[in-house]
Symmetry: D3
Subunit: 341 residues, 6 copies
């Protein structure tokens, strides 16, 4: 029987101008769906796992399209509650060269943001589950969400389910202080912590030395220290940090480190020509979870996670539409973009 992963969060309608057009140039939007936790589900579903996405969506046709889309990629949607007023929306303008991408959120008042503690029966939700993943976005979505996340995590640990949290700090949802307070409370129930090159500083104030994000310069050694400090302070089992170097909106480098409280494992670095970078971190999380569930060794896990994320950057939309075989093939290094006939 396939292992089952549960994620919990918001799935939004994503509206994006085609190609590199700006908002004020278009009279059509590409309409897809995405959101950090849903993205992780889809990616893991594509890797062959059973997945279940937990959320609340309104009872209208647009929300139904979101559910249909998840179903298309074989994500179980039976535990998505239908109530409330609206599905969250985000507008996404793709940057090019020196012009950065731009995201406009319109998620206030979405169904999930009005969630109540009694909306979720975690005992039932976690039936047969092997892993529970969420990100720092979920507790930021609404008043009751920190408590709901706490309850879910407690229940997960009670049932011996592995847990992971991707920090994913969003400054438009809450302040750094609010984030720190809420997430610190969740930490005791988290096995694997995932952060990018900025989040640990934003949420916990733990900063890598000799790194200037705006310059695109990344100092791996500094991030080893960050990982160490995170485990010392919050007692995670393992910490993974993704390291994006941004040369332009089109060209990034991507690598990652994994620290298991003993050794540091550093992945290969990929130079990526980007198709769509939104969801790149979620593909990393999915790759990491897949590696752990497959019980790979630490180095292989971090390589699989990095390759997973690298391939996502070549795919339009939030979802990471690659198979496990495609990731493995990149890890083995024998592809280089040659045509597969």
């Amino acid at each position: 029987m396939a292992k089952k992963i549960v994620t919990f969060g918001e799935i939004m309608l994503r509206l994006a101008p085609d190609n590199y057009l700006r908002f004020n140039q278009v009279d059509h939007y590409e309409a897809t769906f995405g959101g950090a936790e849903a993205n992780v589900c889809v990616s893991l579903s594509n890797y062959g796992y059973d997945t279940s996405f937990i959320s609340i969506l309104p009872n209208n046709d647009i929300a139904q399209c979101a559910i249909n889309t998840l179903r298309k990629f074989n994500v179980n949607t039976d535990n998505i509650l239908r109530k409330g007023n609206r599905i969250g929306i985000y507008f996404c303008e793709k940057g090019a060269s020196e012009r950065p991408s731009k995201v406009i959120y319109d998620r206030k008042g979405s169904s999930i943001s009005c969630a109540k503690l009694e909306d979720f029966d975690w005992d039932k939700i976690f039936d047969n589950a092997s892993w529970f993943h969420l990100t720092g976005i979920t507790p930021a979505l609404g008043e009751n969400l920190p408590n709901i996340c706490m309850e879910a995590l407690k229940k997960a640990k009670e049932k011996n389910i592995n847990t992971s949290l991707d920090l994913n700090y969003r400054k438009k949802l809450w302040s750094k202080d609010e984030a720190k307070e809420s997430i610190t409370k969740l930490c005791p129930y988290i096995d694997i912590l995932i952060s990018n090159e900025e989040d640990a500083k934003d949420v916990f104030g733990i900063e890598a030395k000799d790194t200037n994000i705006d310059d695109g310069k990344i100092n791996v050694e500094g991030y080893k220290e960050v990982a160490k400090e995170l485990i010392e302070k919050y007692h995670f089992e393992k910490v993974a940090i993704t390291l994006r170097e941004s040369f332009s909106a089109n060209d990034n480098a991507w690598s990652s480190v994994l620290y298991d409280n003993k050794n540091f494992y550093i992945s290969k670095k990929y130079n990526m020509h980007i198709v769509d970078r939104v969801g790149g971190g979620d593909a990393f999380a999915a790759g990491l979870i897949s590696g752990f569930l497959d019980e790979l060794n630490m180095q292989d896990i971090i390589e699989f996670a990095s390759a997973s994320s690298c391939l996502k950057h070549s795919i339009q939309g939030d979802f990471n539409l690659v198979s496990k075989e495609e990731v493995q093939s990149l890890v083995k290094g024998n592809i280089r973009g040659r045509v597969q006939r």
Copy 2:
């Protein structure tokens, strides 16, 4: 100097699948803008008048696109306030044959819905204005809107500006009782009332005899009685009623009556093959206002208004993109769709 019309209401992002596709068939939406009062402005601007649209929009790029679109059609946007959280959105699926069109509103919490009395300086807004038009949607948008509409109408009458109101009852915004209460209070300040074949019944409980809307059967005589009763009860100067006969989502007939408290004027009836029927009523209101401003005789006014609306049905999107000459040509009856080379 051109006469200036002011309208007040909400402009929304309109997201629509192409052609006759259903929501769950598309991965792109046509993205245009519209809303009853903005539609009237654009139509009057195309007829050569100065127009000014009054609203509140958030300070983001999507709202800026709405403003740019109004500017494109030469509507003055200087008095659109920029604040609040979001621009209202509506999703619009076009019906075909026996399948009706479907509109999903996502306008809760829009910037205009949070308007306050002190947001508008009507004295300044009405500077040089000849006409003030609004619809029954505007007072339904939020808590303070009934009072704001009242203040605007009072100021308009104080400045001797003509006023018109299109009932436009929307059951998703308020109950019939709420609508009746609010709109009844505005009536003393309204010169011209516009209703469609259903609104007078929904808002005032005044119903045409021998008419079954769902059947598509319309009895003009019954609507004469409706117009009479409206003037008797609420003392409007004139009442115009549009009469849509719906044979299918593709084919409607369209005519209208005008009552000036003395005589009834009945327009020619058009059999329309519909491209987009949203905004058809707004094009009628714009045609009516244009007729009054041009001081046509009553019969010519109702003919111009009906032809204006008929042509709108041939145009995709909310906006009525025809010129006064095109409407006049249809009124004269010498076109019948022959190519104009």
Copy 3:
């Protein structure tokens, strides 16, 4: 527990020029999926039933897209076998006015056409099933298909599952004689037979009097005789016949008759402005099955089936993407294409 319908047949990639363009005008094809039995599944899934589609598809990405599309509409795909060389394809050019639609089949050598008796475990497939539906296309697909269909029908009857067959004669797949021979053998295991205005003549040589298909003239009385003769000869429980009157590629009338070996039930006739007529018969079959499963009375069943099919004609693609509520609303007759806000 929802009732479960099983269908068995071929799902094809459907390639179609946009709008009314001809094949030699386009450099893009709309790429969707469809096939008579899959269409019935999707329609019943949209009406709220559990459905399972049985077929064979090759192990490539294009076939995976077909499966993803079925999943999107909540059709169970667990019993679709993956083997063989190719997915069938059909090219579909939409007619307009006096120009007929044109279908080019490219389904030779498809995976399902090479099916073997041992590929299917009907006992397992029919677990918990309430209904088994297939069409006259399936036995025509390949050498072993008549036997496979026979085995499936026998097993269905053994398990007390209702069975229905839509004649769906396709002259490019087999001759009339071949069809007659094969289908006659299946008849003893069929409860409900469905035919259109042409099939009964093509397959069984049973012809309605005073009807000229090419003229578009349909004589209902003649079809009563056809239904009667079908039951007399082949002992079906019930026979339903759909009656398409073709005025042009854009405009058809649609009605149907149901004969239960006692009385004739004739549905309302719909005048349809067509968006896409492919799949119209499959939507009728789905509506009929839904009516029987809901245990409606005979008149309500034939009305539901006709309205189901009528609405399909307003929808692009093979699939009937309407809900049970939408069909019921049309049956009640209170719609006429007015906007649903």
Copy 4:
């Protein structure tokens, strides 16, 4: 050996908004090519004849696309001269319902408009030709065109080639007086004259009684008189007149009459739901020429020509992309838009 038809005129870039959008709604134009004489060539090429299009086009990539398009439909382009400044352009907005289509010409200064007498070696051009067709547009294109047309017609008659002229009066190219003067001079060299319901009046002042074009009412009897008078005055061998009744931009009726100086032949009348009416007259001319070349009897000729034109109205763009078999099938009357599988 296939019979060869030569036509002479202008081929233009046609820029058109998609669907029923107006010019000010689009940021993309459909870019195809067309022009009366080129349209006749393509249609005849599709009917299986050898065709040769004579024109002048500039030496740039856009003109090369025009030539490639003609080649695609197997029209010989070897005698298209490459010189001059530009290819003519026309903008075409499709009407709907009561809104007429709109054509904006931008053909001033096009290469063909600057043609000189010495640019064409008609002796060589007409090698092996059976038919020469031109329209009243060609002599209107530029200063030297009347003389060039005259020389071509003289040479054609000298070589015993059949000639036909479609009046095609374009008021934006020349006045009625200019047209009358120029075309009257060409008449002695014309065997078959083709006119629509308006042209004979515009060019020769010969008007049908009891017909009001703007009303859409056509009186066939009146057009018999027109045909008679045309032959009496100008001594054509035969006259064909097309009769368009315009109910709306979407719906027209189409029929035609042929007079051979003895009898009148009246075609079946088609009620057409229009996809694109531009080029409808050219498809009629092509059908007529095909009928004469195939030596059909007079009634069959006018039926083939009318059916040819009827089918063109179902096709997007200037070109009539149907086969001779498709026209014959419509003439036989056994189609009515049923799917051809």
Copy 5:
């Protein structure tokens, strides 16, 4: 009150295949509008200035679309005269890798090319203006244009308005000798001269040493000499030169120098991955004018102008659709294409 900039020139319809397709691959063109001086207006309008575009356009719908587009970006169009035959057109095929972009002009006989001296009332046009900008294209458009430009510049200097000229040599409009003669006469009235790496050589024969344009190699020192010589000979107040290094159609480097007759200021060099390079020089001119109007210091001016142009290269179409804040952010160097959420 915002400062007002006036520009004078031609706005054209720009027809372009999508993406990297060649002319002979497409049946649709992207239809936008552009032209050097209009581009400068739109860019400055986006930077918050009042702008007014002066031109002549025909009285048809396509020209109206050009005006609507300018209005959309808040450019004042009140002084655009409507007369003449046609709007200029240019076809634009985007290059890729080693394949260069290709521009085909079809602007002969455009309305502006037939301009007469009396068409413009410069006194009224320059009312309240702070800056007048034109390019070397405008005097090349037609017979009377050199005199009109001269008159405009004289009036501008008379009214103490700053003037700038971008050389913009177009070999398809006039010869180098004609350009030199005409532009030399305008020089006494020009404050700021703008040239790219090629124009000074083409127009004035002043060439940078050690630079081979075709190789993509640029020697900044050589351009200092060019700037010096330009001021010595023609007495401009300041000279700005843009330096494009072309590695491929997709990748260019961009920098610029400014000489104020005392010091040289050299901007940062940007390595750009290009979306659309047309209009890059115009965005530079707009940035330069903005810098001067904001009274920045010389180094900040040349940095703002270069960053303005760099960002334009990331935007499809002629127009530079970025805000002043976005340019300033790039100048500060803290972006590198990271997502702005």
Copy 6:
């Protein structure tokens, strides 16, 4: 009289998602046509030669579109036989960054694959021909194809026509052993052999030293040895080898070597930013043939062939749509992607 090249092979319908989308993201496919030998024909036709493509296609509209497309590019299609069941299809998903492109063939049972010896009259086909080209794909298409190729080559040599073969090994069509056996038999009739960096190894087992294709590292010296060995063993007159270095799906380097049994000629190496790499080898073959037909010297031939192929990589679709002048301009090295106005 222009020299005439004959090629023989399969032309397929190519279905491709737009841009970089994956198969499961799209509901539209770009529909073009291509195939190695047809690609060579189109490229040579664009270089100004007479070309004739020999194949078999079914008698349906889709195959007719393939023929129309060839005609559009002036390829003679008179010797394409129409019979059999289907046109071959291939699905093509474009890779990006580290994600490779993916090709799915659906060519089994295509008309050409069922070709018989008597289908071709090579004596007639080769009338006036100067060159005969085919690739290793053609003999792999079906049972009789090796013999047909043999007969064609023998006839070509008999008529003193130059012959070339591009190895083009396709592992999905046959095994390496089958390929070796079949192609070895054809070798005596081949003048010019063309191979890419992999084919010589796959077909003949002749491998370059110190080269790792998967790494993207190419050792030119090793390929000299390969060329030498090929001529020694199989007695070709000349051998050309293309050398693709694959850095990513977006970025490749391209160069080539030519060995004339005396000297080695190595082309310039191009760093390409890829639009579409399918057909790159065919453009090389076309360039090579063009160089030989133009009797260039060896170095110029290999430079022309490499530049031809380099430019193809900038063009969407299989076909190389550039002119001889454009290739020559790149060979001269004076372009670098600057706009050609």
